[in-house]
């Protein structure tokens, strides 16, 4: 093993020698820095190889020839090595960032300061002597002070002075604490102190220990004593901020982690509270920030707070954390700390590279739009920070929440989850702001009619795919500091992949089926490679289609029953829905891979055998689908809503997974699944996300992804039959008798039918065609939920039947409409009209689609209605049945409007040359029509398998008589209905053809009776805008966006809280100092009272 002294000596030596080398050659100086920093990464790696990781071996190095108490000792263990690797790695990337930036900040002094900073930090990690730690802390702080000022602006000096005052107070506290500790224990050595812990178990001891802790906490910028910290992040160069947030803070945090064994119960509680409060308030503050760097700063502060919280809780509830994996609490700290270090540093660098200072409000964006590489990097870094799989924070979050809930610590768990949600919200807000297109207003234009979107300029064709071109491109893009965030991203991705493999497989590989869960990750990597080597987009999509088909062929035969039904929906449905993408021209980076990963994560829901596996796939599905939504032209607002709601739902699920089968579990899991389904109240993300996605992908969300929640409901159906109100609630009162006996399914049933109604009703008044379809999907999902909640054979059959047929007809409709939008370049229905002559096949598809959706016999939709009402009446849910009928009537209204306003009426001048949709868009339509026709003709083909799928769960209530299906209430013979309908249709048609065979003239579109006048413009003759005005007049009060308003209130509460809290940070250095004093005093008084 290499002695750690070399590490320190090397850094010190290099720092001293650097000016000499720098004078000779600047490049050599820089190279020396890189080499030395490289060595600081290599040495701990060497240690790791030498150490026994499984037992967390530690080796103590003595200095100056004395043993521990008399001399300074350095400890090298697995923990230290791992931390040094990530900390020094971060520093190395920082050096690369400065190196490639070639800005004036990158001077000799900065290089030296960087090395001294790393020196101090390494000492902090390795040292076991308290005073020694103080010295190293001061070394690193001094370097940092100087680094902050390298920007050489007044602001940076101001921030530097603030930082120094705070640091000075902290170091004074530290010194006093150290001296007192020394006085009491007679030693400065940490190991000896831990050994003599009982000496400190008195008021003075705890106070002394508290002083040290307080000092460390202040260095880590606790709320509210952290104003200067945010100022520093705002003023300093992003590279320096990255160092502050990553390298320095992580090391100081490690010191805190080192001395936690000394802490008693009370102190741990105080520390945990401080960490938790810092976490949640920093997120609130960050949410309100306008300056990107300050926002990131608050985020850093919050993340460090989370680390502190986790460490303190880990020490408090030690056993709960240690059971999870090796390393116990340390693993958590490593995952969280490392994840934060790289992702946050990466984001700071990104902000430096793009030069983005102000976030601006979403409405008036003044952003530098990121290129594809930048967008990818920022997306990955943001996802990592927000804790999406497979990045380390995801696993850490899982472990933390698992442990906290297992221990019954619900409050801490909810604080962590809420804080994480807020963090994800503002981080992704920034991300969206950076990637959105210039025409994107940044809001969800749900209630107003959007402007027609202008043509986006066509992107110039990229350089050829030759290897030289690739190298040149990478070289070009790696200049300007891209290399640093790129490396950070690479580290995160690699770690994520490694962790995923580790956690998912858990050492068992018993065949390819275990690997299936990792497929999405593999797909993402592989398709990224495809993008880099410029595989044509059509080929990528083609491969994706083949792969999903292959996935279906390989994995689905192993399934049966309900899983198979949903497997077919997820996989086969997706494969067909991908076909329209083949129509796209140009290159679309990341699209195919994301899509395929989404399909596979959806499919993997079927194979998840544990809660972790399920949650992994679920979160993967969320993030991949989010990145697909983002691609929409004006999708940023909708994407943000989608992300926040999905993540909130996922957190609800995460919490719910640990309550066994209690009503609480049903509630939490139910909310999570219902968010995904978009039921009323939780639906406000849905229309935007479905509608603003690229037109050819909306179908995917509506017809495939929305079924994931339904599938999970089916899977966990047992949870929902229990009574919603736990026994003993309001016991003895009249309320009890009212509330008892209400099962979750009753609530779900009402929710389902109300959703169906609301979806239809809201779709009625939308001018934007995709919003109409999106709300329609919402309504259809409501029917599925209602049928599911019936908990009867017919109900479940209907739910599955709807899921399958909805895939077909809504897929068809969305694809057809995407073809229309593709051709007409507008989404507003009233601007279309008369397209039947131009797009007859699409018209036919839409016709079949709306007949099927509305449930008009003889097509498949009627089967669903028949089963639904029969099952409802069997169950005795009469009022629900009536409301469902009303909803289906309203559905008929908007469907007619859809087909009329687009395809019938007056053809507009600008659409005179429109042609039929491209062939790739027609293929899925034809497949859908074929499927619908087949199932309409022979419904038994679909009903019998579904009957078999549901058979294990319920007693059978239906029987068959030939093609007639008999329920206890009625009967339905789809085949006969089809024949009769065809008969009664053909007879009048023949009559008409005979009578009108001649002298019937086809006339032009203006040859209409127009009150003896003539029309002048198609626009003024086409009746399409506000089509159902009487309905709006009669029932418009139902149309108010109450849910949206409610959620805006929730958000505004957070915003108000944030803006109130941030008034604390007046920018006055003395206020900051006062806060430090107040903070310390309050903690101390709490501590004293606790004792």
């Amino acid at each position: 093993m290499v002695s750690p002294l070399y590490l320190i000596a090397m850094l010190l030596g290099a720092a001293f020698l650097h000016p000499l080398i720098q004078n000779r050659s600047k490049l050599a100086g820089q190279l020396v820095v890189l080499v030395v920093l490289g060595a600081t990464v290599a040495i701990p790696l060497q240690w790791l190889m030498a150490l026994d990781i499984a037992t967390m071996q530690t080796v103590v190095f003595q200095t100056a020839g004395f043993t521990a108490p008399l001399s300074i000792n350095l400890q090298v263990g697995v923990e230290e090595s791992l931390f040094l690797v990530i900390i020094n790695g971060g520093a190395l990337f920082s050096a690369l960032y400065f190196f490639r930036r070639r800005t004036r900040e990158w001077e000799g002094s900065v290089q030296i300061l960087l090395m001294t900073l790393v020196l101090g930090v390494n000492g902090l990690v390795l040292g076991r002597d308290l005073f020694n730690l103080f010295v190293f802390m001061e070394i690193s702080s001094l370097s940092l002070y100087a680094l902050v000022a390298t920007t050489k602006t007044a602001n940076s000096y101001e921030a530097g002075i603030k930082l120094m005052v705070a640091g000075g107070i902290a170091s004074a506290l530290f010194l006093i604490g150290v001296v007192f500790l020394y006085r009491m224990t007679g030693t400065l050595n940490l190991d000896d102190m831990i050994a003599n812990k009982q000496l400190l178990d008195n008021k003075a001891g705890i106070t002394a220990l508290f002083l040290i802790t307080a000092s460390l906490l202040i260095e880590l910028k606790p709320f509210p004593a952290n104003g200067w910290g945010a100022d520093v992040y705002q003023a300093a160069d992003p590279g320096v901020s990255a160092l502050t947030s990553g390298t320095s803070a992580t090391a100081i945090f490690f010191v805190l982690y080192k001395i936690t064994p000394l802490f008693g119960f009370e102190l741990l509680q105080v520390v945990a509270a401080s960490g938790g409060i810092t976490f949640i308030f920093s997120q609130l503050l960050a949410y309100k920030q306008d300056s990107v760097r300050r926002m990131l700063g608050y985020s850093s502060i919050g993340q460090i707070g989370l680390l502190i919280l986790v460490v303190a809780l880990g020490s408090l509830y030690g056993e709960a954390f240690t059971t999870t994996m090796f390393g116990g609490i340390f693993l958590l700290v490593l995952l969280l700390g490392g994840n934060h270090l790289f992702s946050k540093a990466g984001l700071f660098w990104m902000s430096g590279i793009t030069g983005q200072h102000s976030l601006g409000t979403m409405r008036q964006s003044k952003t530098v739009r990121l290129g594809p590489v930048g967008a990818a990097l920022q997306g990955i870094l943001t996802s990592a920070l927000a804790g999406f799989p497979p990045f380390p924070a995801f696993w850490a979050k899982w472990i933390v929440i698992t442990a906290l809930l297992a221990f019954g610590s619900y409050w801490w768990a909810s604080i962590i989850l809420i804080g994480s949600l807020i963090e994800a919200a503002y981080l992704f807000k920034w991300f969206l702001n950076a990637v959105k297109s210039p025409v994107d207003p940044g809001t969800v234009h749900d209630e107003v009619i959007p402007e027609d979107f202008p043509e986006e300029p066509v992107k110039e064709p990229m350089a050829g795919a030759s290897p030289a071109g690739i190298v040149a491109r990478i070289a070009r893009q790696s200049s300007g500091g891209w290399i640093a965030p790129f490396m950070a991203t690479a580290v995160l991705v690699a770690c994520g992949m490694l962790l995923a493999t580790m956690f998912i497989l858990r050492g068992r590989i018993s065949g390819y089926r275990d690997m299936v869960l990792l497929l999405p990750l593999a797909v993402l990597v592989l398709w990224t490679v495809f993008d880099v080597i410029r595989v044509p987009f059509k080929l990528q999509i083609g491969l994706a289609i083949i792969c999903s088909a292959g996935y279906g062929l390989v994995f689905l035969p192993g399934l049966d029953g309900i899983r198979l039904v949903f497997g077919l929906i997820f996989i086969a449905g997706s494969a067909v829905q991908m076909v329209p993408l083949l129509n796209r021209r140009g290159h679309h980076r990341g699209l195919a891979g994301m899509l395929l990963a989404l399909v596979f994560s959806l499919g993997n829901l079927l194979f998840a055998s544990s809660a972790l596996e399920f949650f992994f796939s679920w979160e993967l599905m969320t993030i991949t689908s989010f990145f697909l939504v983002v691609r929409g032209r004006q999708a940023s607002g909708a994407a943000l809503r989608y992300l926040v709601f999905s993540l909130g739902g996922a957190f609800s699920i995460l919490a719910g997974l640990f309550f066994g089968s209690s009503p609480l579990a049903a509630l939490l899991l139910g909310i999570g699944f219902l968010v995904k389904m978009g039921t009323l109240g939780l639906h406000i993300w849905l229309p935007g996300a479905y509608a603003e996605t690229d037109d050819d992908m909306s179908t995917f969300f509506s017809s495939v992804t929305s079924k994931a929640g339904l599938f999970m409901l089916f899977l966990l159906a047992g949870l929902f039959v229990q009574e919603a109100i736990p026994a003993g609630f309001a016991a003895g009162t009249r309320l009890e008798s009212l509330l008892s006996g209400i099962a979750f399914t009753d609530l779900l049933g009402w929710l389902g039918v109300v959703t169906a109604f609301a979806g239809a009703f809201l779709a009625l008044f939308k001018e934007d065609i995709k919003y109409t379809l999106a709300y329609s999907s919402m309504g259809q999902v409501g029917y599925m939920l209602l049928s599911f909640a019936l908990m009867s054979q017919l109900g479940w059959m209907n739910s599955l039947y709807l899921a399958v047929t909805h895939l077909m007809f809504k897929g068809m409709l969305f694809v057809a409409i995407s073809g229309v939008v593709y051709r007409t370049k507008t989404r507003l229905m009233y601007q279309m009209g008369g397209l039947i002559t131009r797009m007859p096949i699409t018209f036919f598809t839409v016709l079949i689609g709306i007949i099927a959706v509305s449930g008009v016999p003889p097509l498949t939709g009627f089967g669903a209605k028949w089963m639904l009402y029969t099952a409802l009446i069997e169950k005795g849910w009469y009022l629900q049945a009536a409301l469902a009928m009303f909803a289906s009537g309203i559905a008929f209204l908007y469907l007619f409007r859809l087909i009329h306003v687009i395809f019938l009426g007056q053809l507009k001048d600008e659409h005179r040359t429109v042609t039929e949709a491209p062939i790739w868009m027609l293929i899925p339509q034809v497949v859908g029509i074929a499927g619908i026709m087949l199932y309409s003709m022979y419904p038994s083909l679909l009903l019998k398998p579904l009957e078999a799928a549901v058979a294990p769960f319920f007693e059978t209530t239906i029987s068959w008589d030939g093609y007639t299906v008999l329920s206890t209430l009625g009967y339905w013979n789809g085949t006969a209905v089809m024949y009769v309908t065809m008969g009664v249709f053909l007879v009048p048609l023949l009559w008409l053809l005979i009578v009108q065979r001649k002298n019937t003239q086809k006339v032009g579109q203006f040859n209409i009776v127009y009150a003896a006048e003539r029309p002048y413009r198609p626009e003024t003759t086409h009746f399409g805008y506000n089509f159902f005005a009487p309905y709006e007049k009669a029932l418009g009060f139902l149309h108010k966006p109450l849910a949206t308003r409610f959620w805006y209130r929730v958000v505004s509460v957070a915003e108000v809280a944030g803006s109130m809290v941030r008034k604390l940070y007046t920018g006055n250095i003395q206020t900051y100092a006062l806060w430090i004093v107040i903070y310390t005093s309050i903690l101390l008084s709490i501590l004293q009272r606790g004792m």
Binding site: G834, I836, T837, L847, S854, V856, F862, K865, W866, Y869, T870, I873, Y878, L879, A881, A882, M885, F886, G889, F892, L893, F896, R897, I899, H900, L904, G905, L969, G970, Y971, W972, A976, V977, V980, T981, V984, P988, W991, L992, Q996, N999, T1000, Q1001, K1002, V1003, Q1005, N1007, I1008, V1009, T1021, H1022, F1023, F1027, F1028, A1029, P1030, Y1031, K1033, A1034, L1035
Partner: protein
């Protein structure tokens, strides 16, 4: 094969009867209305002549495929609706195709013709046609609510959705009719029937003054003839349905004639006595008292 031929003959007979009955009923009611107004009124066979004349038109125009098919859809909807209802209880000839579906099928098949007509009217490119369609559909969804509630109440009462069985359950005396065993359901259903027959006060759909008769503004010649034929058949089908649901059905064709005549008379009387609602007013009306009556009927069944 023989069975199919027999069924085909029966179907033709049944359709022939209902068509003529519907036409004559229309003529008679016009006559009744004239008498109320102190006029002599048109001949009873005037509907026949009008249909004949329209089919004898020498020229015609059409706006496109859907315009051409619209009346076909409409007539198919009327024929289909009738064919899925057993017209006379216990009669082989008039049982039609009621074996292929129950009450739900009939309720949803009504939409078939509406949709086809709306599509045909839509393709005419005339703004008044979709305006009429918009009014008609909006009103239809509204009157469907009390009707649906009423049907659910009946289905709950007899635990069946089969029309034949509902009629069977009402046999054996006038007091067994739904009208007496479940009067609230009957009231709700009969109010919604007023909307369904689109007489006053719910006639704004075809409002001849403002939007020349609404959806069929551009329809002429044989297209119009077909729509008129459908009106007769569809009217008959609706009357038979309501007779079956609320008034004990019919055991032979004469009882059917009497009962449906009286039901139709009721709508004509209302038609002749009321002014017209606006669309939003009729929506509010149907979702008000009639819906509440329907809910009461349903709630009574739940208790």
């Amino acid at each position: 094969m023989n069975e199919i031929m027999t069924k085909a003959w029966y179907t033709l007979i049944s359709l022939f009867v209902i068509t003529n009955y519907g036409l004559l009923l229309g003529g008679t009611m016009a006559r009744v209305r004239a008498k109320v107004q102190g006029r002599i009124g048109q001949p009873v066979w005037q509907p026949y002549i009008d249909i004949l004349k329209n089919n004898f038109k020498r020229t015609g125009i059409y706006h496109g495929v859907m315009f051409y098919l619209g009346p076909v859809f409409r007539l198919a909807g009327g024929l289909g609706t009738y064919l899925f209802i057993p017209a006379v209880y216990g009669s082989l000839v008039f049982s039609n195709f009621s074996f292929s579906g129950d009450l739900l099928l009939v309720m949803y098949f009504i939409f078939f013709g509406q949709l086809g007509m709306a599509l045909g009217a839509g393709q005419s490119g005339h703004p008044y046609s979709p305006l009429g369609v918009s009014r008609g559909l909006a009103q239809m969804t509204a009157f469907e609510v009390p009707f649906a509630l009423s049907v659910i109440a009946i289905a709950a009462q007899y635990q069946t959705l089969s029309i034949t069985e509902i009629v069977a359950a009402q046999q054996g005396g006038i007091l067994n009719w739904v009208a007496f065993t479940n009067p609230l359901a009957m009231v709700a259903g009969m109010i919604s029937f007023l909307g369904m027959s689109m007489g006053n006060p719910f006639s704004v759909v075809i409002a001849p003054q403002e939007i020349p008769i609404g959806p069929p503004t551009e329809m002429q010649s044989s297209f119009l003839g077909m729509l008129q034929t459908n009106r007769a058949i569809f009217n008959g089908a609706k009357l038979v349905l309501f007779m079956n649901l609320y008034f004990g059905g019919a055991t032979n064709i004469w009882i059917m004639v009497i009962k449906t005549f009286l039901i139709y008379l009721y709508t004509v009387i209302v038609d002749a006595s009321f002014p017209r609602f606006r669309t939003d007013q009729s929506i509010r009306f149907f979702l008000g008292t009639p819906a509440l009556i329907g809910i009461a009927a349903v709630v009574l069944q739940m208790l």
